[in-house]
């Protein structure tokens, strides 16, 4: 026994050594494989993929009302794509961008998405911002079997095979914020106010159910103003009369600015009144002015002031690319995740084919440890696991994060809230 074992030792060593030698070229071969795999192998459906490039689309409003909000999103997407290209691209291919302008007009969004998918054959599209534009492009993406990465926090109640939602759906944003304000501020009465379209109305519906059924609180007023409304005098008087513990707001766009300016002018400030909003990010604060918001709260999943290494690097890179004065809001960060999530799914699928990329995404275990907001994971329902954060606004337009939730599972069709 002893003899045989001693004689075997060198032979094992020799075998390992030989194996190692043989593995070396194999490893070199493997690392180069992505470069050498032909376009036909990673793309069986006729997408715009060559041996060294892959084309994607960016579809946001560069003109019109929504340009204000969508500028940040498309800047973040370009930054992510540039960083991916600097790292060597995806499957050894540099990403090229075709950008189209949705012009804040929903039929234009549909038309341009058709052009990107049918004529340009892009492998993925990063775009859309409002729910209206997403609803407009959805049939096109489903018919042409395209792949859309949609960045905005939205009302939920949707899950398409052809869309990956990188923002939070309603329950991820609303429930924890309400829990927080009920506990922290001992709030019992709520006044709900929003702009008059699908997202605020659905969000308020969920909020009302949660306040009444879970928190045991009371909704003392619910109000919707037309988009673009700039007169809030009467509503503010109503709020004054009802004396709610919390004003819960989802006013959007230009109205938002008028709303906060007039609150301040009416003497309703954070000293006397708790206000929690789901529609103000750093982008909006630029227009509203930090002095009009000071002390009020926003519930989002990301704030520019978040203190972690990922975020520091992201903010630095963003400012280097788009200027020192640029600010980064929640949706901008969510848009930044799109290209990275796509890269992860494509690399695991080893193919750009939409069906294969979606299949990988649907396994529900694609993680990003480098996300500025912190760790995120893609759920099999196409939404992201993410944390909710409450930020308190400061005069300089940045927020202090005062609360961070646990990782919340996305639930686009919440039972008991519809």
């Amino acid at each position: 026994m002893r003899k045989t074992s001693t004689s075997r030792l060198p032979s094992i060593m020799r075998r390992r050594f030989v194996k190692g030698l043989m593995a070396l070229p194999a490893a070199i071969l493997l690392s180069n494989m992505s470069l050498s795999v032909s376009a036909a192998e990673v793309n069986t459906t006729g997408l715009a993929v060559t041996d060294d490039t892959v084309t994607v689309g960016i579809l946001h409003s560069l003109t019109g009302t929504m340009a204000i909000s969508e500028t940040g999103a498309q800047e973040a997407e370009k930054l992510a794509i540039k960083q991916i290209n600097d790292m060597g691209g995806i499957l050894g291919r540099q990403i090229e961008i075709i950008q189209e302008d949705g012009a804040s007009d929903w039929p234009t969004f549909a038309e341009k998405s058709k052009k990107l998918l049918v004529k340009d054959k892009v492998a993925a599209v990063f775009g859309a911002w409002t729910s209206a534009s997403r609803k407009a492009v959805l049939p096109v993406f489903e018919k042409e079997n395209g792949l859309l990465y949609y960045p905005t926090f939205y009302e939920g109640l949707e899950q398409s095979k052809n869309v990956i939602y990188t923002g939070q759906e309603a329950t991820q944003q609303i429930l924890d914020g309400l829990n927080w304000v009920a506990k922290e501020k001992e709030a019992k009465t709520f006044y709900l106010i929003g702009s008059d379209y699908i997202w605020p109305r659905t969000s308020m519906k969920i909020a009302r159910k949660h306040i009444e059924n879970v928190l045991g609180g009371k909704v003392v007023g619910e109000e919707y103003k037309p988009l673009g409304n700039t007169q809030f005098g009467s509503v503010i008087n109503k709020i004054r009369l009802k004396k709610p513990d919390v004003i819960y707001a989802a006013v959007v766009g230009g109205s938002n600015v008028a709303w906060f300016k007039q609150l301040k002018a009416a003497g309703i400030t954070s000293k006397k009144q708790t206000l929690l909003t789901i529609s103000v990010t750093e982008d909006e604060v630029l227009g509203i002015g930090g002095e009009n918001l000071e002390g009020f709260y926003s519930i989002m999943k990301y704030f520019q002031s978040q203190d972690n290494e990922n975020n520091k690097a992201f903010v630095k890179a963003f400012k280097e690319m788009w200027g020192e004065d640029s600010v980064i809001g929640d949706v901008t960060q969510a848009a930044y995740l799109g290209p990275w999530l796509w890269k992860a799914a494509v690399e695991r699928a080893g193919s750009f084919d939409v069906d294969k990329v979606v299949a990988e995404s649907e396994k529900g275990d694609i993680e990003l440890t480098t996300a500025p907001e912190g760790y995120v994971k893609l759920h099999k329902n196409h939404h992201l696991w993410s944390k909710a954060r409450v930020g308190q606004w400061k005069k300089d337009g940045q927020a202090t994060v005062v609360y961070t939730s646990e990782l919340i599972e996305p639930d686009p069709f919440p039972a008991g809230y519809q």
Binding site: T63, S234, A265
Partner: protein, 307 residues
């Protein structure tokens, strides 16, 4: 309204009354410039909102300039900004009339299309010059916050400011149109262009200055609204519908009609808004407006012009 003390109700009543008056002054200030242009010249100026945006951007520009170079001047810049806004918008209006409008006087419907085109051009210029994001000028301290006559009542200072400004502008327009020689020439031209030409009035010059005046007042309105809302490239489109509503409802050529119309629309809207929720209040206001215009298509105060 049970469960409220009488002092609460009184103060809400006072504040609600002010909310109505405040909305009235906003509507009137928006509509004055358009009423002059539409009423005196028959030009439907679709770019009116953009001339307001010019005023707002001018204010923003002045605020940034003052903040950077003369911070000590910050409490006072706003008054100067209003004057500058008037002249900048007025000058642009003057140029627009010279380059575009005057060629279309014989084709009133084409002015609608042409000024709409102008408004698109102006929107894109704002976007190129100031960026797509909305901006707000830093306001002087005395314009922020509220005046508290009692513990319960808060009257917004910016609302009082707009009210005061509207009063001054309205009086100014009244004086110009009805007490000055220039106003006499404007009214003469409106009533009978050929005859005015014959008695030696330079009607072309009158047109140009009337248009410039209307645009200048739009500029003042734009400057004043920076205290209420923010300014973006498409801000003008937010205001244009309300503006036309006031002018058409008031009767095109009548200054008094514009005032009365702004007052009734504002009061109806703010009272309705208090009792029913926001969107429906607007619906009822507009419905009432449509009904009245069906029976009085010339507006509240039809002009007695021989045509």
């Amino acid at each position: 309204m049970d469960g409220y003390t009488s002092s609460e109700l009184v103060s809400i009543f006072a504040m609600q009354g002010f909310a109505g008056i405040s909305l009235f002054s906003v509507l009137l200030l928006m509509a004055l410039g358009l009423a002059i242009i539409f009423g005196q010249m028959g030009v439907i100026n679709m770019a009116h909102g953009e001339f307001m945006a010019v005023g707002a951007y001018t204010t923003y520009f002045m605020a940034t300039l003052t903040e950077t170079y003369f911070p000590a001047f910050m409490p006072y810049y706003f008054v100067l900004a209003i004057v500058v806004a008037f002249f900048v918008s007025g000058l642009l209006g003057y140029l627009a009339e010279f380059a575009l409008i005057r060629h279309l006087y014989k084709r009133p419907l084409d002015t609608l299309l042409a000024t709409w085109g102008l408004s698109l051009i102006m929107q894109q210029s704002f976007r190129s010059l100031f960026g797509a994001r909305e901006v707000s000028p830093t306001l002087p301290e005395w314009l922020l916050g509220s005046y508290q006559p009692t513990e319960m009542i808060d009257i917004p200072l910016n609302g009082m400011f707009v009210l005061g400004l509207t009063t001054i502008v309205t009086l100014g327009v009244y004086y110009l149109m009805f007490k000055s020689r220039w106003g006499l020439r404007v009214r003469a031209t409106t009533q009978n262009r050929v005859m005015s030409d014959a008695v030696g009035i330079n009607t072309k010059k009158v047109d140009r200055y009337t248009f410039a005046l209307g645009c200048g007042i739009a500029g003042i309105a734009g400057a004043a609204f920076t205290t209420i809302a923010s300014t973006g490239p498409t801000t003008g489109t937010l205001y244009i519908v309300d503006t036309f509503m006031v002018v058409v409802f008031g009767g095109a050529a009548s200054l008094f009609g514009t005032i009365a119309s702004a007052f009734s629309i504002a009061q109806a809207q703010s009272i309705l808004e208090f009792f029913i929720s926001g969107s429906m209040a607007k619906v009822y206001t507009l419905l009432a407006l449509v009904l009245i215009l069906m029976f009085k298509p010339e507006g509240l105060f039809a002009s007695k012009v021989r045509r």
